[in-house]
Amino acid sequence: MDSSLSLSLATFIYALASIFYIGSFSFKKNTLAKIGFIVLIIGFLFNTGGIILRWIESYQIGYGHAPFANMYESLVFFSWTVAVLYIFVEFKYKESIIGVFASPIVFLAIAYASLSPDISSKITPLIPALKSNWLIAHVIACFLGYAGFAVAFGFSIMYFAKPQNPETKSIFAKLPSWDIIDELTYQMVVFGFLFLTIGIITGAVWANSAWGKYWSWDPKETWSLITWFVYAIFMHLRMMKGWQGRKLALVSIIGFLAVMFTYFGVNFLLSGLHSYG
């Protein structure tokens, strides 16, 4: 098996997992969600295998670098981090229904990587500036951060999906109680924030070792700082101003838009030092 087959299978299995979750939600069958969870884990295994194989293949070609070097690889890794985080959350909180809001993100990221004509899946060599151990630390931290925010975003959607009135017979009434949604969203934001912080810091240390400047207001740097500000605002609103519910969920959604812009918008619309996500 080679990496591209393994990753294609992962894409397909993630799609299946999303279908199970959505089915469980629509037909109010918890067993479907349980199956979805197992399918998601299988997809995750193929995702992991694909990344490892790609790493090995890059050494066989002679380029020899960790698979975090272009947009394709970063998206595959993004799927992986969201999956790992979601699996952890479901494991800990035992709320399988919320997979409806997380599994599609996992699927869409990896599907976008393989289907978009703008994104090449070729293994490319590293330019000299990217040859650093800080690259690995930086990318892993940033993507764990993005994953936290992505899952938080999924959960924030619940605030707008779940009816305020608990008596309603809508399918959304099956969602977990408000204080659990609230806590879960907050936990994901906090997780994302810690890793975004570490990501920005490792990036700065790396820039200092490659160019002698830890901060140069490059668009990607600036946008990651903007994202950081938005989530800092989120936390102060929650802790000091007592914001919660839909108002706070809106801030989390704005934060995720900033993440998306940092990730894609900067690459496609602005120019700068970063050659990939």
């Binding site: 000299p128 240390v205 903007i226």
Partner: protein, 454 residues
Amino acid sequence: MKKNKTVSEKIWQFFCSVKLTVTTLVLLALTSMIGTIILQNGSQSEYVRLYGESFYKIIKVFTFDDMYHAWWFLGLIIILCINLVVCSIERLSTTWKIIFPKKIKFNATRFRKQKNLETFTIKKELATLSSSYENFLLKTIGKVIKEETLDSIILYAEKGRWTRIGVYVVHSSILLLLIGALIGMVFGFKASLNLDEGKTSDTAVIAKSRESVNLGFSIKCNKFDVKFYDTGAPEEFKSNLTIIENGKVSFTKDILVNHPLRYKGINIFQSSYGTAAPDSAHVDIVKLSDKSVTHLSIKIGEEINLPNDMGLFKLEGFLPHFDFRGHNLGEAFIGRITPKDGQSFQIGIPVKFPTFDKMRKGNFAFIVKEFEKKYYTGLQITKDPGVWYVYAGFILMIIGCWITFFMSHESYFIEIQKKQGKTLRVCFSATTNRNQQSLKLKIKKYVVKLKGKQ
């Protein structure tokens, strides 16, 4: 309640609000976007071309062309700092008393009213159960406070009181970062130096002001090397540098991208490279009338006699990008022909196009056969005495975030009451300053254990 506040009190109040924090952060986030859209540090002509004359005036007024150093942007950061300091001073004394209380007290009624209160009954001796619970608390939480009455025992234990300091660690890390950045701005510089192989220099040009700065020592570039991938992209570039101090060789070292040289507070980074002017070239001089070829090695600046005493030829210089009627013909040499009796004129000899000079239809055509390719190394030279403060800030921020997010001050409360006969009623609840949900899960876990201690 005082009605009339003095001006200084009003100012203090203004800087003491979290509303100000949020507002400033929102403004910082919004304005930071401007600099990612409008070109930074460009020249006047670029701005006029991109945005037009009238918009250029607006850009100048608000310093949008260097907005991250604009007075209003720095002003926002200063407001944030004052806000942070004032708020911390205001609250620190209260927090301090919570963190270091004279005596740890707890409010039993508050625990009995907790939503997470769990109640169950057990058949056992009061003293044995209480001592087994005390043991449990001691092992999993910490020091236990015990309050006894005739028919009930209250056990209390807590951990993580100190974690309330986490927020202050985060906030002071931000101040430390900004202090480091300020030191770097005032006492540091960022300059660049393009150094040909074999050349030595002790000055670099500051990127922003274009002023030159003396480094206090000289750098000699002995050799530059670049390796390419089969795709043509550069794989690695490397300069072999010698540091010369007071005329004496200090040491020699290779620098690569990501592996700079640090010496006396000055950092020397490999950042780019290019083709430097060579010393000489091997030139074929073809006499067009009989196709006879003369081969010569000519130094740059050297003047030679053309064959058959037909005049002089001087190799004047080298261009990395030869522009011919708007086309870039790449590397080329520039020569000057002075015919025996006539006006001298200049010719270009592009290396990649050997037939180019033939088209001039002169008496001779010049072809550059080969030349020793020389590079210059592009060095970035920086000095930043503030970087250690910034790094300390980084470390503190990560530690502080960890404490704030993942650790909390948790207090546990167990009340055991005697009921009829040997039945005991146990109430168990807990409070925390953060992470209510994960506390709930912990309580569920602990209850199972407590029930098990029969």
